[in-house]
């Protein structure tokens, strides 16, 4: 067992970063924590600082003002760190691809391990994405 897979062996802690989303992906992420979906039963939870996290969830198209902070957040995180881009905006830029404040999708700036497309992705899709990510790690 390598160091990377050992790091991901236990429950994943997630830090969520909104890089310019319309709120919907963020609400669906929070929805995962609430009674109907309740991913906390798997020990997954949202943490307040990226320094405690195993997974960085990035939602939203990346605006030019957020870009330096996104890169700084990624650099501050202890590795190994899995990055998940959620929503159509996070994966490709979506409907805002032609906007003047668009700094490129998430994977242009930081390496991304999993994509969860959808506008917004349903909570089931998010959970499925994380489970597939765990299988990959």
């Amino acid at each position: 067992m390598g160091a990377t897979s050992w790091g991901f062996k236990k429950s994943l802690w997630v830090f969520h970063l909104n890089a310019g989303a319309c709120n919907n992906c963020d609400i669906e992420v929070l929805d995962c924590l609430t009674p109907r979906f309740d991913i906390e039963r798997f020990g997954m939870k949202l943490v307040g600082s990226v320094k405690h996290a195993d997974v960085l969830l990035v939602s939203g198209f990346v605006s030019r003002k957020v870009l330096p902070q996104l890169i700084e957040t990624y650099e501050q995180a202890p590795k190994p760190l899995a990055v998940v881009a959620i929503g159509s905006c996070g994966c490709t830029g979506g409907i805002f691809r032609d906007g003047y404040n668009f700094a490129g999708p998430v994977d242009k700036h930081i390496p991304v391990d999993a994509y969860v497309p959808g506008c917004p992705p349903r909570p089931e899709a998010l959970i499925d994405g994380i489970v597939k990510l765990m299988g990959k790690l």
């Binding site: 909104n18 709120n23 919907n24 609430t34 009674p35 957020v66 957040t73």
Partner: protein, 390 residues
Amino acid sequence: MSTIIPIGPFHPVLEEPEYIQLYVNGETVESADIDLGRIHRGMELLAQEKTYDQDVFLIERICGICSASHSWAGSLAMEDIVGVKPPDRARYLRTIVHELERLHSHMLWVGLGGHILGYWTVFMWGWKYREPILDALEMITGNRQHYAWYKAGGVRRDVADEIWPEVLKIIDEFAGHVDMLTGAILDDPVIQGRLKGVGILTKEDAIHYGTLGPTARGSGFDIDVRRDEDYGAYDEVDWNVIVQPDGDCLAVAVVRLLEMKESCKIIKQCIDKLPGGPIATEIREFPRGEGVGHVEAPRGESFHYIRSNGTNMPERHKMRAPTFTNIPSFRPRVKGESISDAVLIFAIIDPCYSCTERMAVLDPSGKPFMTGKDLIKLSHEKTEKLRRES
């Protein structure tokens, strides 16, 4: 001598990346500043590069929570240009979806309020009871959020009559949960202590700052676009505008809780009275002209202005969401309060920054690119130039 406390931009209590500076003296907050612009997506320019049909999908994505409000306001503005009215069935269907959206938005806020106060039970309850509303929206429109259902002239898809008993059942159960939550919140002495008399916004300030929606109605400022303007089916059903005079955080919370009951009433009456017939008026082309649409979003009035030059794309599309005018009211509210109440006071307007983002151009040195004086000087120079030329 005041200390500066920074909150954000990526802070556990904020859903969206915003930067708030609190100027504090000891425990007392003296003033506050907010730095916006991280979610600015250039929506107005993008809207001018798309056709009217595509525009509805774009403006829906201004905000994830008010997506029905924005697409309805945009559709109203487009109908205003052409001069058509949607058919009766479309008016009722639009009203039902819009009120369902208000229910899920207010319930979401109740949950977040509980989270900020440290009442995790309220957070879990609020979000649990919100789920059936999303199911009802999915049954009617086909999606939990971002319904893609409104269009200029009416709605996109018709609804089968079989689903209404199920929707009515969801609404009835939800109304019971709202009663229970209202009782639990208003009877709890700790919640009363945290909310009552905290963050007072007087009626004069509410008018002066141009607040809208529940924020204004919690300060005794009686303003509601649903009643004041002619749109939707609101004038054909029986409901009340909820106004509370106190202006503190409790008053705004009470306005939201009681409004949910009113929304349940509106939805039930609309389903009862739902007429048959076509669901959309066909619009062949957009003539030259301008149109305005405003609807009462869950947070206040959302306003859309479209100018058409006769092509299939708008020449100008101006949007204004309610949070834009509600945010400045944070300053009079927070002055003199303790730091522990600041985040609560900030959340009381139910801020939605993605609606609000504007762009400011800055010089690399950090100075404003153009001040008001510079703009006036430019204007004077242009007049002088024209004068010399003539």
